[in-house]
């Protein structure tokens, strides 16, 4: 059952509130006891105290003015008279379904207890950089995506297949139902659980838990020729039975070669065979989700070359084609993660298209199938399949939706839309499945 972090304010007129606060700060046990006395008033609501918190006295009711004269007296070097508390505030977790009833209970008020972001101090938008903020559970991301309204209509990705072009997916844990089969290729689903592709599979399932996966592994070192062959395999299968319905692509380049020396490089030539093949697959009706990359200026990944870091240099090649859906990364608080690559894109300028959630405990993390390290699913590599899963969810609800229409609906329903409707950090905003569902067909 989803829980919400709240502050509970109890009517609590008492003398010696300052002393109680100090005692609780020195002795957690005293603080817990004081809190539990108050919690008795909300027994039966499933309220759980936050660990290591100290009950905080308030010296006026929410609707009343503070005791101005008495508080002003605190501004001297002499000991001031104690004030009686009017209320006491506790930090707690409450089941989502209990919130409304709890807030109506006499003598108790419920307030949000929202996470704060340490600002960079530059006046720029907040950014999540190393050390990163804590990761999110799958349930937190599902809530943020607003998938419940789609699930309640009976759609959870069933019947939809996502083709993951990556280093292979583990089929023991994830629902691999097919993919590339070749004489020298590993069997679909045979990758280890710690593979990058397995992480992508886990993240696809966040929004669309009943989706199926086709495994399209790079054969050996990932290169554009390998991706070309995998996209052809996708097209071959689509010609047979219309699957997979969409692809996830969490890879790209991390440096920009000189255009004079390498004019035909994938980054410079929009007619490179790979880009042409990607377009063929999209024209066949299969949306392609591509990661923006991890070479954002604020805290680029360690494998980024200086030539490919920051605005205008870090979203390129197939990842910046107009026809694909390019995904940046935000954390669970919708704060941009500082390594997320920044537009403008090098083919199409208005890239990324959207942002989705990364830093979640899906494949990786304590107790997760892939274990640790890393501490959680990460990179725009994780954000992209989260978005792809939303795409799959929507295709399951509205079969036959074209790639262009899907992209349009996702953009029109994004949340946290930047001023002017688009920016180089998060595109048109953060993806929201519930909103996009309402936009379609």
């Amino acid at each position: 059952m989803p829980q919400v972090n709240v502050l509970l304010e109890f009517e609590d007129v008492r003398q010696g509130a300052f002393g109680l606060f100090s005692l609780a700060a020195e002795s957690p046990a005293e603080g817990v006891q004081a809190a539990e006395n108050l919690l008795d008033r909300v027994a039966g609501f499933g309220v759980e105290l936050e660990e290591e918190q100290i009950p905080v006295p308030m010296f006026s009711e929410p609707s009343a003015a503070p005791p101005v004269d008495e508080l002003r007296a605190f501004g001297t070097a002499e000991l001031s008279v104690e004030l009686p508390s009017a209320t006491t505030v506790l930090a707690a977790r409450v089941p989502d379904e209990s919130l409304e009833e709890l807030d109506q209970r006499a003598g108790v008020r419920v307030w949000p207890n929202s996470e704060l972001t340490l600002f960079s101090g530059s006046g720029a938008a907040p950014v999540d950089c190393r050390p990163f903020q804590p990761g999110a559970t799958i349930e937190e991301i599902q809530q943020a995506l607003g998938v419940q309204v789609v699930w309640e209509e009976g759609h959870s990705g069933e019947g939809i297949v996502i083709g993951i072009i990556d280093e292979g997916v583990n089929g023991d844990v994830y629902p691999v139902r097919g993919g590339f089969e070749g004489a020298n290729a590993p069997a679909p689903g045979s990758a280890p659980i710690t593979s990058h592709g397995s992480m992508c599979a886990a993240d696809c399932l966040v929004a669309a838990p009943d989706v199926a996966i086709y495994d399209y592994p790079f054969l050996g070192v990932p290169n554009s020729g390998g991706a070309l062959a995998m996209f052809q395999s996708v097209l071959d299968q689509r010609r047979l039975d219309g699957t997979p319905h969409l692809t996830n692509n969490s890879y790209g380049f991390t440096g920009v070669p000189s255009p004079d020396r390498f004019p035909k490089h994938e980054i410079w030539d929009p007619q490179h065979p790979l880009h042409r093949k990607v377009r063929e697959v999209i024209v066949s009706g299969a949306p392609a989700f591509f990661a923006a990359g991890n070479c954002g200026a604020d805290c680029p990944s360690g494998n980024c070359d200086a030539s490919g870091i920051g605005p205008g240099k870090s979203i390129h090649a197939s990842n910046s084609l107009e026809e694909v859906i390019t995904i940046a990364a935000v954390n669970k608080n919708r704060t941009r993660i500082g390594y997320s690559s920044q537009g403008p894109g090098m083919f199409m300028a208005e890239k990324p298209d959207l942002a989705a959630y990364s830093h979640l405990f899906a494949n990786f993390g304590q107790g997760r199938p892939g274990g640790e390290p890393p501490p959680f699913d990460n990179g725009t590599s994780a954000a992209t399949p989260v978005a792809c899963g939303v795409g799959a969810l929507l295709l399951g609800a509205h079969p036959g939706t074209s790639p262009g229409r899907l992209k349009q609906a996702l953009i029109a329903s994004a949340v946290d839309v930047p001023a002017g409707g688009w920016n180089a950090d998060i595109g048109h905003g953060v993806i929201h499945a519930g909103g996009a569902f309402a936009q379609l067909p």
């Binding site: 990556d166 280093e167 990058h196 790079f218 070192v221 990932p222 290169n223 554009s224 020729g225 390998g226 991706a227 070309l228 062959a229 052809q232 969490s250 890879y251 790209g252 380049f253 991390t254 390498f262 035909k264 490089h265 994938e266 030539d269 490179h272 065979p273 790979l274 042409r276 093949k277 063929e280 990661a291 990359g293 991890n294 990944s301 494998n303 990179g379 725009t380 590599s381 992209t384």
Partner: protein, 72 residues
Amino acid sequence: MKWLLTTPADVDLDGVRAEVEAAGGKLEAQKAVPLGENEQVLYAEGPEDLEARLKAAPIPIQVSPNSELELY
């Protein structure tokens, strides 16, 4: 270096192989990928200036790099 060679789909493959080898490269065994309505992409290895070396070939061969990708 690894290369992708785009040729007409009905090209004489032996002829392409000979031109590539004369330019100091070789075709790889990987299956050709069809492209568009009547083209195909062949996989090759060759020197850095393979494109320049193949410019004079009697067979139309477009040379594109087959560059390494990174998983994000």
